[in-house]
Amino acid sequence: MNLVNFRFETGADGVALLTWDMPGRSMNVITYEVMDELEQVIDKVASDAAIKGCVIASGKSAFSGGADLSMLQQSAAQYAKARAERGEDVANKEFFEGSRRLSLLYRKLETCGKAFAIAINGVCLGGAFELALACHHRVLADNEKTKVGLPEIKVGLFPGAGGTQRVARLLQTADALQFLFRGEQLKAKQAVGAGLAHELAPAEEMVDRARAWIVNGGSAKAPWDVPGFKNPSGRVFSPGGMMVWPAANAIYRRETYDNYPAAKAILHAVYEGLQLPMDLGLRVESRWFAHILRSKEAAAMIRSLFLSKNELEKGAHRPHDIPPTNLKKVGILGAGFMGAGVAYVSALNGLQVVLIDRDQDSADKGKAVCDKLISGQVSKGRASAADKEALLSRIEATPDYARLKGCDLIVEAVFEDRAVKAEATKKAQEVVGPDVVFASNTSTLPITSLAETSLRPDNFIGIHFFSPVEKMLLVEIILGKKTGDLALATALDFVRVIKKTPIVVNDSRGFYANRCVLNYVREGHIMLLEGVPPAMIENTARMAGMPVGPLSLNDEIALDLAWKILVAAKKDLGEKAADPAQERVLSFMVEKEGRFGRKNGKGFYDYPAGGKKTLWPGLAQLAKEPLDPDALDVEELKQRFLVVQAVEAARTLAEHVVTDPREADVGSILGFGFAPFTGGTLSYIDGMGAKKFVALCDALAQKHGPRFEPPQLLREMAEKNQTFYGRFAKQAKAA
């Protein structure tokens, strides 16, 4: 055997040890080469009479993260090529056979007649855990870092190398479906407790235990290959099955709005597979896997949620010639909700924090917020008391600007008022001087103009956090006209330290994310005026893929805040800056009815103490005329929500606010939950095709107004049959 990615040695006891240890990689992943070598090993073990069985282990600190997702993504491109060259039938057949290679390989291992045991230390996910499931015996290292799971669903895929079939034959059907749907990682103890693995052992003993299991005559037959095997939940068509399947189908819809074909494929594969013998079950799983692997949802989700996200996190837009900034200490101005949140995530990730507010009390309040957040983690068992103490010791709450001395970065998060911000900037710079990068966490004020209050506008940048800071994964970095490379590199390094995903945008009112979101909220307002039943507005928005309805979202943001922004925009930019529909809705809610949103217990919803929120019946007064819901086109309502955001995203690209489609996509999903199955705002357009999208925009514009009109850029793309990723690939690569 000629192995590069594995070491293979047979012991005196006749048990072979296969150590997976890919050169030049920190983590083992499944590649074509790995499959080739694994196949050789299986053949060797099966055919060599001197080998009794084989233990598989990893030579790395983790077992494996699973399949190489870029390999999976490329396979879709190869399919397209094969289809163009050899026709659909041939391409489909090739793709089906190719995409089930890993599944067949694992089945070969499982049925080769020799016992395979696996010893897992560290994470073992996806295709790697499917390898484990195909082994006859699974030993997990009894430590915190050992976790197993099938997270494929999170990138629009599902376990296609036997995972659905084996899990469904190991667990009760309801548990199996939940495990597959959620894609969660189980700790070693949980996995053994659930029945997904056989034994726990100290990491240093696990290989010996696995070996001992083989030496002691462990069976080379999986339970489902033993005659008389019964599924843990019995037959699908049984009273027990009737308790599971109708609800499983309904819960699928509840959780996905039927937008995630991979989740549905899990249902199909398990439902059909449980009625078949293993080999046919695997074949059916493969049929669905090939189908899903070719789906545009999988392609879009792999690209945005895995590949692009990783690239952005690694600093795709970081200026290359600035050396690592090595941040140690940050100063945060303003200990309000946002400032405290920034302080928390900074301290959580090891930074020293000086948290400033106008008096000690206010500063302490901010630190108390951090205390509450980390205490919550401790009570959930996600952090220790020592972690908490260390974190809090890193935060110095003070009104004394002099304490900012030595900070590597200042983040300003004071009240959204130019004068207040200018004052804070001035006081901080008096201490730290002009050379320390200064970042403003404004969400509404242009960075370029704020930078003018700084001693060095080139060292001034926007870092826009989303609320709540500790939960939201996205950070928008905003370049003012004069922002320089050092500021950008520092901001990106900071975002990397606090483990958020950055997008870099050019200065514009609302930057990127809020521009899209505000359009979404406004569409809800407009529908209210049209007379669309309020529940239908909220429900169709969620059905379109948004995490919360526009009215709910507006209640969370606060209606009076939205109203103030609208009034301010009018003051700054003139009468035309305000949308009259939105003005009517907000003035009615805020000025006339005193409904400010969740914060005063009444907004578009009523918030009864201790009860569930319900839509305020008074919303009917806003309707021009109540519309018959059965006469409304649900698909069109859904499209309006997505299109109005996507077309705004296209405008931001046309205006060079956003310069890289990856940032628009990743930013839209992480920042405001834009229908993740689409891959994000621009992938949504690419997925539909520019031509079709422009036609849809034109139709919506004609019916509902110019807010749907596409920018010239899109018309040009439609004409040339271009995609964002095609047209802007250069920018994406150059970055």
């Binding site: 699908v236 068509f237 099955g241 009737m242 399947w245 109708p246 609800a247 189908n249 309904a250 819960i251 699928y252 819809r253 509840r254 959780e255 709005y257 039927d258 549905k264 249902l267 199909h268 439902y271 039943p533 309020p534 529940a535 239908m536 909220e538 429900n539 169709t540 059905m543 319900t614 839509l615 819901p629 649900v634």
Partner: protein, 402 residues
């Protein structure tokens, strides 16, 4: 085209569909045989005159499986030459059996046939036959499968029926059924179920609770809320009808059809066949229709099929004197009346399945028999019989007294 006439219609009383129900000791076959035997004896048939026996059965498995119609035909003494076929269109099976039998006559291929149905819900159990619809994602997901009770609650929510509305309807059903029994309005159709010794096992619908009032119903908890919320079906309902913010759970055992055991049979034949056996026609089958309707609401098919049928028969609803809409759930009938702007004067005048129960495969034939009896009693002319059906369908038949 030959006309199809109703010559006779019988039904067993409906026994409570539980192990303590009077008919629990009687097999599905026994119930069907009771109805078929009555047709044979009351019409002095030899048996060989019958060209076919069509029986509806919704859970045709176990003792009710394997073509119970043929088994019942032989066991009822109709002779070995009488064939039988069992059909299933869920809750309308009994009416569809009558329509299938009528179609055989109208097509001129058969002369005399029996349509009917049987269901021993206490013995076989609702849902016992399984089926892809609720289970297989291929159909459960796109058809918005949810339990019928959740669909009924969705109808009540969407069309604005309150708990009081549905309870008041249920009280009326009980009162009307009680009056009908008191006045002997079902006398002509009811065939007591007897044992081998001729001893009566049951001769009266035993599910009824004539003393039901608003207060007694108010104490009942909604039946479908828990399952809807735990099983995710509330979300399915809302995604199908997104103008609904939350489901108003109003249905319970007291305003939904009762689970019961029973069987029914209707003798249908051509004019000539009737003359041959010396029977007098009681009603003419004027027209019938089937339709598929919105599957999430599931139970609004009677509205769609009535529209289709009236158009086909070139009639208006005002031409109909009497309407039987199966009381699967109170909201089904309330929505039917709302859609056609009907008051309850000519709808379910002798009560329905809320009071007397709904033996799934048999109910349609029972309703048709009740309509014939009531037309004769009241001297009216035309009746419409219709039922809502699982997975969103409707079946309807118009008959005319002769």
């Amino acid at each position: 085209m030959p006309e199809a006439y109703v010559y006779d219609a019988v039904r067993t009383p409906r026994g409570r569909g539980k192990p303590d129900g009077s008919l629990h000791e009687v097999s599905s076959l026994g119930l069907a045989v009771t109805a078929l035997k009555a047709i044979k004896e009351r019409n002095h048939l030899d048996g060989a005159e019958i060209d076919d026996v069509v029986l509806g059965c919704v859970d045709p498995v176990g003792e009710a499986g394997g073509d119970i119609a043929r088994a019942a035909a032989i066991a009822a003494g109709l002779g070995t030459e009488t064939p039988g076929v069992q059909i299933n269109r869920f809750c309308a099976s009994g009416l569809d059996s009558v329509n299938f039998a009528a179609a055989q006559i109208m097509s001129g291929q058969h002369e005399l046939a029996i349509g009917g149905g049987v269901e021993s819900m206490s013995r076989v159990g609702i849902g016992a036959s399984g089926g892809a619809w609720p289970v297989d994602p291929t159909i459960a997901i796109p058809s918005y499968f949810m339990p019928q009770g959740v669909s009924a609650d969705l109808i009540a929510t969407k069309y604005g029926f309150t708990r009081d509305d549905v309870d008041a309807y249920a009280v009326q059903s009980q009162q009307r059924a009680a009056r009908a029994w008191e006045e002997g309005r079902f006398k002509r159709s009811i065939v007591p179920v007897k044992d081998v010794n001729g001893l009566t096992i049951l001769d009266r619908d035993e599910h009824m609770r004539p003393s039901t009032d608003m207060q007694s119903l108010a104490s009942l908890k909604p039946s479908f809320a828990f399952f809807a919320e735990q099983g995710g079906f509330d979300a399915v309902a809302i995604q199908a009808h997104p103008e609904v913010e939350k489901i108003n759970y109003v249905h319970h055992a007291g305003n939904s059809s009762g689970i019961v055991d029973g069987a029914a049979a209707v003798l249908i034949g051509s004019k000539e066949a009737g003359e041959r056996i010396g029977a007098k026609p009681r009603a003419r089958i004027r027209a019938f229709a089937n339709i598929g309707s919105e599957p999430a609401l599931m139970l609004t098919g009677p509205i769609d099929v009535t529209k289709k049928l009236l158009a086909r028969a070139r009639m208006a609803l005002s031409d109909i004197d009497l309407i039987e809409v199966n009381e699967a759930f109170a909201a089904v009938v309330l929505r039917f009346m709302q859609a056609f702007d009907l008051d309850s004067e000519k709808v379910n005048v002798n009560g329905g399945a809320i009071a007397m129960g709904h033996p799934l495969g048999a109910t349609g034939a029972m309703l048709l028999g009740s309509a014939v009896d009531e037309l004769e009693r009241s001297g009216k002319s035309t009746a419409l019989v219709t039922l809502c059906i699982g997975a969103g369908m409707g079946t309807a038949t118009i008959i005319e007294r002769v």
